[in-house]
Symmetry: C2
Subunit: 355 residues, 2 copies
């Protein structure tokens, strides 16, 4: 089993180091190989996703990813910016199914912006399609408008699109995930305005007929953004497109108050996956030993489960994370009165000790 | 001064009736004429936006709009569904500037899903572009894919687009609105992925140079969806495109806990406007005298201010609404222990009495 370790920018190296520490402590037989990605790779090689890094990722069974992005690269041309690395990995590896759990940990209920009764026990799984939609649709660019409100004016444009098989495969992923949970799927669309999402809704409905044990409902994206705030616990599995999923999964993870705890997985049809924390690269706190490594450690657990077929090891990690929380250990992002403040490395050590 | 009154579906007729009651009580000299719209118009004429209704709206100085939509029209073909009426009015009247305030009323702070300290005193103005973007961009439809992941498969597609003058005019609206407030604008985009929103960001930045007294910052839409939950009071004026504005304005209004209180205005370049509550048609509670008419009454106040040049009358209405809240009167959506529950009509009467 081979793991590509891509730490990236900002707090990426620190949090990935802790996840690697935990993986090493499991005494399983896998090979880990690191490569530069994002701004760090640009600085070294002139490209955010160097050929060698992509090759390593494509040949590995799984990618453990930190985070990319730093203000210092903001002025680069778009194709050279750090986030192109993650978009390139998704595209070239065909990582179409993104799993973004939004879980409110019992010990951290108070940390949510929402009233505790609204989030206590929250456990949503957002499944975001990750290789289609307006993220990758062609054509896109700038041109002179030939119609619309201002013919003759300069304009920019992008193409939103979804094909039938793209929608079918992500729908199957969602229904199958729901079968292992409370058997409810909410498909989020904007069928009242967009052709693409009327098609989405039609096909998800069709696929749903193959899963009579799962209850399917449909919700417009604007309403979903509201219901997440109003009554998040009404949701179980949410499935949606790339663009809406980007927005709603971030909203949902912030509702939990512990985005520093939330892992994510992005899978392709061969079982390969990229595993990364739901949070970003936080360059403002990089190198200070204050970042929370738990989202990355839990991403490593997802990696063991989904790509490396090591369910027992995944559960060991998850139990160890629960244990350190129960011990009252907290990095600054989740610290509160009466708990013990620890740094990034100490948190990783504590998880290893609890394994 | 002529007002077109389009009540629509669900609770539309009840809440608009109360706003009309309040307008009549002002003793100003205007003419009001009603016409059917939405599902109600479809039922009468076979079209959600009949020619006569559109003509009335285009000739009026302002449109007072209730709400459209009802499940019973869900199975109609898209061009006949109630929401096409509002999209048609926006398009034909050129209502490009949508003002969506998200205000947390002192008396209703407890009604928010968020902890009181996060929303007390909240006052955000979301300015959403309303006639461009992927809502109206051509081409759109279904076809056979010629490239992408599954060439040869059936696909659906839409076009996102913005031209320079479209972005310029909404940016000017936002900067000018900010000049009357706390002089801060947050422009929300997805420039890291979309050509359209890199262009948006570039042009908003350019226009911003003409307003050196206003502080401009840029935020990605996914981050904006998070920051609204985490720290909503960091925002003052938010300006964004049609699609992102749809999602974020609904999220923001729900944060306040009193979406039943929030008005909106949609303006064109001639000062004509359409005024409607931020909430929907709520067919489940229609006809029961429980809907909150205050958002519609406050929309009428915005109409007096923006399209009818009656600032004093607008302020009288706003003061009357404050007074009924201070009296402890509450429709069921905002009711809490210790306040007096009233119905739709009684709330309207109370506002009239307080004028
Ligand atoms: C960095 C950016 C391109 C990316 C996205 O929009 O997908 C990020 O927001 C995410 O959700 O992983
Ligand atoms: C009804 C629908 C077409 C509309 C929109 O998406 O603009 C609504 O959600 C709104 O925000 O007014």
């Amino acid at each position: 089993m081979k793991i590509a370790v891509l730490a990236g920018d900002g707090i990426g190296p620190e949090i990935v180091a802790e996840a690697v520490k935990v993986l090493n402590a499991l005494d399983l037989d896998f090979e880990m190989e690191s490569a530069p990605v994002g701004g760090a790779a640009y600085a070294l090689t002139g490209h955010p996703l160097p050929e060698a890094t992509l090759k390593l990722a494509m040949e590995a069974d799984a990618v453990l990813f930190g985070a990319v992005g730093d203000w210092k690269y903001d002025t680069l041309d778009r194709p050279l910016r750090p986030e192109q690395a993650i978009l390139g990995l998704r595209k070239h590896m065909g990582l179409f199914a993104n799993f973004r759990p939004a879980i409110c940990y019992k010990e951290l209920t108070h940390a949510s912006s929402l009233k505790p009764e609204l989030v206590a026990g929250l456990d949503i799984l957002i499944i975001r399609e990750l290789t289609g939609d307006i993220y990758f649709g062609q054509p896109r660019g700038r041109r002179v408008a030939t119609d619309g409100h201002f013919p003759g004016a300069e304009e920019a444009f992008d193409t939103m699109r979804y094909s039938r098989p793209e929608i079918e495969r992500i729908a199957h992923v969602a229904f199958q995930a729901a079968q292992k949970r409370s058997k409810r799927v909410t498909s989020v669309d904007k069928a009242n305005v967009l052709e693409t999402f009327q098609f989405w809704k039609d096909i998800v409905t069709e696929v749903g007929k193959e899963y009579p044990d799962v209850q399917l409902d449909h919700m417009y994206v604007d309403n979903a953004a509201m219901q997440l705030v109003k009554e998040p616990k009404r949701f179980d599995v949410v499935v949606t497109g790339n663009m809406f999923g980007d927005i709603l999964s971030d909203e949902a993870s912030m509702l939990t108050g512990s985005i520093g705890m939330l892992p994510s997985a992005s899978l392709n049809s061969k079982g390969q996956g990229l595993y990364e924390p739901s949070h970003g690269s936080a360059p403002d706190i990089a190198g200070k030993n204050v970042a929370n490594p738990l989202a990355t450690i839990l991403s490593a657990a997802m990696m063991l489960r989904f790509s490396l077929n090591q369910e027992a090891a995944a559960q060991r990690i998850e139990a160890a994370v629960q244990a350190v929380l129960a011990q009252g250990l907290r990095t600054p992002d989740i610290w509160s009165e009466g708990t013990t403040r620890v740094g990034t490395a100490e948190m990783g050590d504590a998880v290893v000790a609890a394994l």
